[in-house]
């Protein structure tokens, strides 16, 4: 087994990526991702890993550079956050359409304006439809595990798609946490060398990013959609393999005290642990509350979500982003859509909170459950509310 150590999560993510035999990283610094970039550059500079580190001039260039490197057959990595991710946006669908298995850490942070550097999910949500596999992590250990597994999933011949690992900025990236860091031998045994399906090479020329008009465009989009849908099987296999090797198992949707619950709460990312404490408190006073944690955001785990929410009467969906002028938070919208055709559906309450780094404490989750249970006329169901907003 790997060593049990304490380390800042951002640094640990860079360490974990360093174990993955990457060929190149192109990173532009942005708070709160910068420590990932800095530590990767240290690993390269100190000769600890045999990789190239490029200090590009923007995130747009970072994503372009890893697309170029991945196209040439290099195992390529980048990391970003907030405005940086927004600036990469143009390139994200191109990476997935070209089936380039790039992996990227996203230190989730609020998007301007106003300018803010703290945590929420408003940066990743607009990237939802870019064709990337997208996972959320709850703590430092998951951040490390998912960062390593991302390469194996992305590079699997049945997937060949880019993966982003969402790590809550500051709340996770800047925490010093205890975890088990796999050893180099273990990672080598888990992660095979990268064999690209096609590379830019003068001896065997290919064209990437070629023009496609209406005669082929739809077919290419369908192929991309199928690839992303089919990736779920590989994701589950890789997570299973990880569980067998390291004893830590992951599922697309996880639950906590959910089996007999009258009310369920759904979270994504680092808030899961806080919400778990709230559930314990509620259970302590006899309230049958449970928790659902959504780990896999794309491909969306429809069957798992349906199975978990089958019998519950009330569901609270928490969102750390909003679709302005739309149905509420993006997670709420997905869950509602997933349950539409089901014979029995819970009443769904949507709370938008934790925006721009606003702290969400245990008591607030408790408050949500209390409020929802008190809503006997179901007045607030199917709507959204900015939790704790000053008006």
């Amino acid at each position: 087994m790997g060593k049990r150590i304490g380390m800042e999560v951002a640094v640990a993510v860079a360490e974990a990526v360093g174990l993955c035999n990457i060929d190149m990283a192109a990173v532009y610094p942005i708070t709160p991702q910068s420590h990932i970039a800095e530590h990767l550059s240290d690993l390269v500079a100190n000769g600890q890993i045999d990789a190239e580190f490029v200090t590009v001039e923007s995130e747009h260039s970072a994503m372009s550079a890893v697309i170029g490197a991945s196209g040439a057959g290099a195992r390529s990595y980048t990391a970003t956050s907030s405005q940086g991710l927004m600036y990469m946006h143009e390139l994200l669908p191109i990476a997935s359409a070209m089936r380039l298995p790039i992996t990227m850490a996203i230190a989730n942070r609020a998007v301007s304006g106003p300018l803010n550097i703290l945590n929420d999910h408003t940066d990743i949500m607009p990237q939802r439809d870019s064709g990337w596999i997208s996972v959320f992590v709850e703590n430092g250990q998951e951040a490390i595990d998912m960062s390593i597994m991302a390469f194996k999933i992305a590079e699997h011949k049945d997937v060949m798609l880019p993966v982003n690992v969402n790590i809550d900025g500051f709340q996770l990236t800047h925490m010093v946490e205890p975890f088990e860091m796999p050893s180099q031998e273990e990672v080598d045994a888990f992660l095979p060398p990268f064999v690209p399906h096609a590379t830019l090479h003068p001896a065997k020329p290919v064209t990437m990013g070629a023009f496609a008009m209406s005669d082929y465009f739809t077919e290419i989009m369908k192929a991309k959609d199928e690839a992303l849908l089919n990736s779920k099987k590989v994701i589950l296999d890789v997570w299973d393999e990880w569980a067998k090797m390291f004893g830590r198992s992951y599922k697309p949707v996880e639950t906590y005290k959910a089996d007999d619950a009258d009310v369920l709460m759904l979270t994504m990312g680092s808030m899961g642990e806080t919400a778990q404490m709230a559930i314990d408190q509620l259970r302590g006073r006899g309230v049958k509350a449970g928790l659902v944690k959504l780990r896999l955001w794309r491909p969306f785990p429809h069957s798992e979500i349906k199975a978990v929410l089958k019998n519950v009467k009330k569901l609270i969906v928490t969102d750390r982003a909003i679709s302005f002028g739309g149905p509420g938070g993006p997670v709420f919208s997905e869950i509602k859509s997933a349950l539409y055709a089901e014979a029995s559906r819970p009443l769904i309450y949507n709370y938008i909170f934790g925006l721009g780094g606003r702290d969400v404490a245990v008591g607030e989750f408790v408050g949500m459950v209390d409020k929802v249970l008190a809503d006997t006329k179901n007045k607030a169901a199917d709507t959204y509310e900015f939790w704790g907003v000053r008006e």
Binding site: S34, A37, E38, E57, S58
Partner: protein, 294 residues
Amino acid sequence: MTTAKAVKNVPPHPMDALLRTERIPHIWCPGCGIGTVFSAVLAAIKNTGWDPNTIAMVSGIGCTGRMAGYIRLDSFHTTHGRALPFATGLKLAKPDTKVIIVSGDGDLFAIGGNHFIHAARRNMDMTVVCVNNFNYGMTGGQQAPSTPLGAKTTTSVNGSPEEPFNLCDLAATCGATYVARWTAMQVRSLRSSISEALEKRGFSFVEVITPCPSSFGRRNRMGTALEMMKFYQGRSVIRSDINPSEALVDIDREIVVGKFVDTERPTFMDHYAKVNRLNLPQWRAMHSDHQKGR
């Protein structure tokens, strides 16, 4: 943190009229050169005698970008690298506005480099003051396009392997009509250069070599903020009217400072009016009501 009581006892700053004092204390580190540059910009603005309602400050992201939040003028703190396009739009909509752009080397020449060359090429009538501290200060001192070859940063612990830009040469090559460089210690020259730049009709550029003691200085063992100030000043050689391509910033040998370009050529507005506004009235403020209410 400065307590409310301490703030109360601080004597008024000569530039208070141009500051959002309620936003002070500022975020800059002790010994940072940005305060000096900011003071010089404010003094230069004051010297012009312009109506404050006709001046706007536009900034990008980074430590220097925060100036726009502290100045008591119309100001726009934009996205990373995009100060110049925002400023271009502002200038086109309100051509009478005097537009001052303040930003760092990273914002203007890394992520926003593209916009700089085009604003200079078009000869947009505006003034750019660039605080060059040789690294990305706000995110923790990473390698920038201005980092000297071999200098250490948090993403180049063994020294930067890249050649930096000569910012003044770039500005001049792209068509700027006024180009000057000073260190943050040469306050009088800096102030008069910014004044000249503001009065200049055309794209004017002033680079200020500024200590970043918290990041660049610490990584490169340059001592305290004051020692860095004195170091840059000591390395500086005034060689005005030299060809900007020869005006090198070599912190190991010499930092060439002075005024390198002061010339005239038609601005973007001049050309544009000739081509596109033949039958239209002269440039005017788009929202005349805006001024009335002030």
